[in-house]
């Protein structure tokens, strides 16, 4: 009997305490951030969308090799002897045409392993995280500035040069059979 009344008393008191808590919270400022209208600033080193400053890229493939999911695809063509591709912003000479620099953000795991090996610091993470699309293919980012015609021309030139080199090597080899091999 004593327990019965104590239970009732406790039920009433605890319900009133709980109602007090909820009533106080009715006037507490909401913690919600109304996302599309109000955006929280991300930390300075947050890792979101990748970006490549292609003008600084020297086509060294270090980022592509570091990538654990192979989402960076690079193609390069050697510059001609008389061609000057300029310098990167930290003073390295560019010796290669970077004809293709694609990053598949659908594959990217945001580890930023590609950022650290870059000798010219041209690949880095930006704080932009709003790049959802309706088509998975549009997550494939193209950074190279070469048009398909230019790429074709460069490839043809490279092939021609290779052919010429091979022929030259053949001639050299034919001429050099009499000589004993000294180098390489």
């Amino acid at each position: 009997m004593k327990d019965y009344f104590r239970n009732i008393y406790q039920a009433i008191v605890t319900i009133l305490i709980g109602m007090g808590v909820t009533f106080r919270h009715l006037f507490v400022h909401a913690v919600t951030i109304q996302y599309p209208h109000v955006k929280r600033e991300l930390p300075a080193r947050s890792r979101q969308k990748l970006f490549v400053n292609i003008d600084d890229c020297i086509g060294c493939f270090q980022c592509a090799r570091a990538c654990p999911v192979d989402c960076i695809m690079i193609e390069t063509v050697k510059a001609g002897k008389d061609e000057d591709l300029g310098e990167t912003s930290n003073g390295q000479k560019k010796r290669l045409h970077v004809v293709k620099f694609d990053i598949d953000m659908a594959k990217c795991c945001y580890c930023a392993d590609c950022v650290f090996p870059c000798p010219t610091e041209c690949i880095y993470m930006t704080p932009d995280y709003e790049f959802a699309t309706y088509d998975r293919n549009s997550l494939l980012l193209h950074f190279a500035k070469y048009s398909p015609e230019q790429v074709k021309a460069l490839h043809e030139r490279q092939e021609k040069e290779a052919l010429a080199k091979a022929q030259a090597a053949k001639i050299k080899a034919a001429a050099g059979t009499k000589k004993p091999e000294s180098e390489t």
């Binding site: 319900i15 109602m19 808590v21 909820t22 919270h25 009715l26 006037f27 909401a30």
Partner: protein, 349 residues
Amino acid sequence: MEPIIKVFFNFIPALADLPNWLAVTLIGVVLAVGTFLYIAVFTLFGVWLERKISAHMQDRLGPMEVGGWHGWAQTIADTIKLLIKEDIVPEKSDRFLYKFAPYVVFTAVMAAFAVIPWSKKFIPANLNVGLLYIISISSLGVIGILMGGWASNNKWSLYGAMRSAAQMVSYEIPVSLSLISVILITGTLDMQEIVYRQSGTLFSWNIFHYFPFAFLAFIIYFIASLAEANRTPFDLPEAESELVAGFHTEYSGMRWAFFMLSEYANMFVVSAISAVVFFGGWQAPFGFLNFIPGPIWFLGKALILVFVQMWIRWTLPRLRVDQLMYTAWKVLTPFSFALVLFIAFWKVL
């Protein structure tokens, strides 16, 4: 209904020329449509308010987008969505009962509006057994819920319906007994008369005039009416975490909306009854506030009680079935019986 008919005749004299049966039917239809519109608007407002209150009690914001100011049009958008939704009837359900159930539930709730006194003049049907009528009509709803649960041919629906039957039948008793104790005090079943007996200031309202007893009766009535209206902490018939949605699991679109309408209308009805029976109905708390019309006082009192219902909903967790039965049979019923006996003796002596 006579005062209302007189008011209508005053407004539209042409009605008096019609045969009596036609005029009465027309007035009845107008009143019913008005009640339905009121229920619809109250539900829109109530759902919005509930979402806002629940959100703010949990330090959230709730709907904020639709309509501009604090998402006021959110429930209107929801209603449009419900209207254009597909009406699914399960293949192996009892089609007639399935389609009929929401209307039974809704009619039972809406019928209670007939005897609610809004002001000195406006009470749709001034029955001399108004309170008895409400007690009896509000137990009809459980039939509709059982129909819906059984006809859905779904175990969750059936469980929900069975629970609701057990719950509503048990909680009828404390509801009736706590109202009976007030009937003993006022000595009438007439809703309008109950309000008149409480005229004066705040302290002549039943709840304060007969302080400990009527207050206890109010607490018992309030707890039991939460169970009657299937509100948390007694929302076992539609316990989301166990029964998907309870008796209305299979319902969609407008039929589901009718269950929702009746739930919110029921909230209002039980609050309106306690406003009438315990808080002096449409009477102002003090004489000098009489210039504010009665319906505003009545609505205000009812809405405050609706707010308390929502407040409790977002404070307490759901009871277990055995705790529910314990509360009804071992706590509320004995207390209300004791109260009735005590008040009866006191009245006789």
